[in-house]
Symmetry: C2
Subunit: 221 residues, 2 copies
């Protein structure tokens, strides 16, 4: 294996609970009152897909314009609920290790660059780091586009890539991209949910992944 | 089976994600930065036990006075993050059904009465409803005290009681009380986590429990 593609929220930064509460409040304001745990299990999809899933759940269709308005409102509320972005334990060390060991890696997030910027800043990534976001592709996760765009920019084959993510959407998109998925518990899913979605391994957080990295057979390029 | 004892947060009202974010922020302010998913998995314990678990995780002892200060700060922040308390789907109907069918039931929460009041109000419980909270017992969940106090006030035997809860702490306390636990996904745990903690059945939320209530062999008294 020659490369690692990271999801961002819940995988490298500890933001899933802020996103969940923000989306729940935005959807409730819009007359789409969804249970917190159901919102939680939708995080990691693009905002558009998430609002469509909520509208399906409630049985009230929403327009493209409303979808975009809700996405913007989420951005505002999320910043208010979670003004600080904290890297997950081991995230900075893991990225440092990959750079030092010259193992190719990148970040692929369903978030828009504007919304993800603060989280990316918290990771102190060198300017050369490959980052792919919602604005770079037509369709976000669970479509494979984000991971394929990242892999292509890393210059490796899909079957040489691990995808590291905390949500079943990462694992679904990884499978569709022909990559091996690794789950992290740091987004709040249960271990079995991640294995059942196809995770090859599940670790608690980036720190445990780094401790166990010899299990992954990664090599420099 | 002759009685049903309900947990409150995540079981009858949709408050777990608000509690999680509030605790995470309170603990971070106090120099105990805990990952969101780890805080999430501690919700349902008393605030005192939760802060002790966080202090153990970080490796910094905290005093009884600090523990109480953090509990108060959580109450304030929680109200700010989650000004409205929303009953989970089916919660009101399920309680109505139990009253109509004359099946004994009560609520047993690890929260203090002051903090739980707004959530209890959202359930429109008749004044006669048996409610046991943190202020009624010496030790909250996962000790069995809350459930035993509730069962005693309902006038049934422990082995005639179901405990309905969303957290492994409910299921642990139920086992220690000699009661059968039923898990709900509405607090955000995965299904297997609840079964592994000893749930006899797992349902999505109170609505699915009500739809399946014939599976539980409850009788009136």
């Amino acid at each position: 294996m020659r490369a690692v593609i990271f999801d961002l929220d819940g995988t490298l930064v500890d933001t899933v609970y802020g996103h969940t509460l923000a989306w729940q409040q935005v959807l409730a304001e819009a007359g789409l009152p969804i249970e917190g745990w159901k919102v939680h299990r939708l995080i990691g999809m693009s905002g558009g897909l998430l609002t469509q899933a909520a509208s399906h759940e409630i049985g009230r269709p929403i327009s493209k314009a409303e979808e975009q308005r809700l996405g913007k409102r989420h951005g505002v509320l999320y910043k208010k609920l979670m003004p600080e972005r904290r890297p997950l334990p081991g995230a900075l060390d893991l990225l440092k290790h990959l750079r030092k060991a010259k193992i190719k890696h990148g970040v692929a997030t369903s978030g828009r660059r504007k919304d993800a910027k603060k989280s990316l800043d918290a990771l102190h990534l060198p300017a050369r780091t490959v980052i792919v976001d919602r604005d770079d592709v037509e369709r976000a996760k669970p479509e494979p586009d984000l991971f394929l765009a990242c892999q292509s920019r890393l210059g490796v084959k899909p079957e040489e890539c691990y995808v590291i993510g905390d949500a079943v959407w990462d694992l679904l998109a990884a499978r569709r991209a022909g990559m091996l998925g690794i789950g992290l518990l740091s987004g709040g899913y249960g271990q079995e949910e991640l294995y059942q979605a196809g995770a090859y391994r599940v670790y608690s957080n980036p720190a445990e992944l780094l401790d166990s990295i010899y299990q992954l057979g990664l090599r420099a390029s």
